[in-house]
Symmetry: C2
Subunit: 195 residues, 2 copies
DNA sequence: CGCGACGTTGATTTGCCTCAACGATTGTGG
DNA sequence: CCACAATCGTTGAGGCAAATCAACGTCGCG
């Protein structure tokens, strides 16, 4: 049950089995069906969740009612609204399951306990956040410098597992294009072999 | 000399004056003229820099040779390529002064020393990175959900100090639009009073 | 003075959106 | 187990936001 998450954190620092046991005791397990909200706009984000199994999206709703997808999460990823979680201010985003999912949760309180008991976790979370930051920087660059088709190809190459289990219109919402246009891009890519 | 930076880090955790003295001893001071590179694509980023005075941009160059600006930094901001700095891998970005600047630098080595001597700094940097992350999330949302004019107005409102001291075409490069189009937006905004 | 950096303006083009209509597939209640 | 509704993807016509290209004005500065 905790194997995967323990391997996950051990990528960032070395932990003894006692430390890992302490860590694991602070985690809450949660099963949740698909199409359920883990977080709703206006609510305070009370968790950081490690995905044991399942598929989850986090997104904003724009002024026209369209989803702007920030991230997809699958097995071995973390999801949260870090900003709301840390400040304990109401969130502006939604986090919603796409498939039935199993999670391991840290709350604000258990995370603080963890950081107090095992300060090395400060480093783990710092490094995790840094990697997230780097990927946002890369995405910003892609959004500004590349065409929709290039971004789609990049997405397919980078997240082959995700692109196979997610409906196409959600990928469009992630890329920032309309579902119709993504359909046209795909047609272009798969019929006309010219890049 | 160290007043501003000490206040900066004290926003995230409490430090004694001895701790701050230790911190300050690990910082290197650097003066640098405008239009100089602090980091060049292909080089490893060896610093995290606190800006005592000046103005700095970090950016990528896209395949057409255009700048895609990630961030502007002015007084009381930090600049670095966190990804390259942490992994000590070659960077893909440029960091360049826009004005004559004064910096306080941490190197990979001095940062590790700092974290070892005063582990509370783990928390400081974690919280700093988290705030950066939140601002990238917001920017991604704005890029996908708002028009160029809305993004420009938002930029003016959020960074009034920056927008006054930076040439207009750099703001365009930050917003992800052409300088010509920004000029047309401004004309629209300032002649026709309709939003 | 003359050159380079910066901003503006207009004409034209284009990448992507919107709207509308239509299959295909899934799933769900009767 | 079928009927019907959602959900999802495709296609085409038309439109708009923003890019591109080209020309020109202005300022600061070596």
């Amino acid at each position: 049950m905790f194997e995967a998450i323990n391997q996950n954190v051990c990528r960032y620092a070395a932990f003894s089995s006692e430390e890992l046991a302490t860590f694991n005791q602070l985690l809450a397990h949660k099963s949740i069906a698909k199409k359920q909200f883990l977080l709703h706009e206006g609510d305070v984000c009370r968790f950081e969740a490690y995905i044991v199994k399942g598929c989850i999206k986090s997104y904003f709703i724009d002024s026209n009612g369209f989803e702007v997808i920030l991230t997809f999460g699958i097995e071995d990823w973390w999801v949260s609204d870090i900003d709301s979680f840390c400040t304990q201010q109401p969130s502006r985003m939604f986090i919603e399951t796409i498939e039935d999912s199993e999670l391991l949760l840290l709350t604000h309180q258990t995370k603080e306990q963890l950081l107090t008991k095992i300060p090395k976790f400060e480093r783990v979370f710092r490094l995790m956040v840094q990697r997230h930051l780097a990927s946002y920087q890369e995405r910003l660059f892609a959004d500004h410098a590349k065409t929709a088709q290039e971004r789609y190809e990049y997405f397919l190459a980078k997240y082959p597992y995700i692109s196979q289990r997610i409906p196409q219109h959600l990928i469009a919402a992630y890329l920032g294009i309309s579902p119709e246009f993504l359909s046209k891009i795909r047609k272009r890519m798969f019929t006309n072999r010219s890049k």
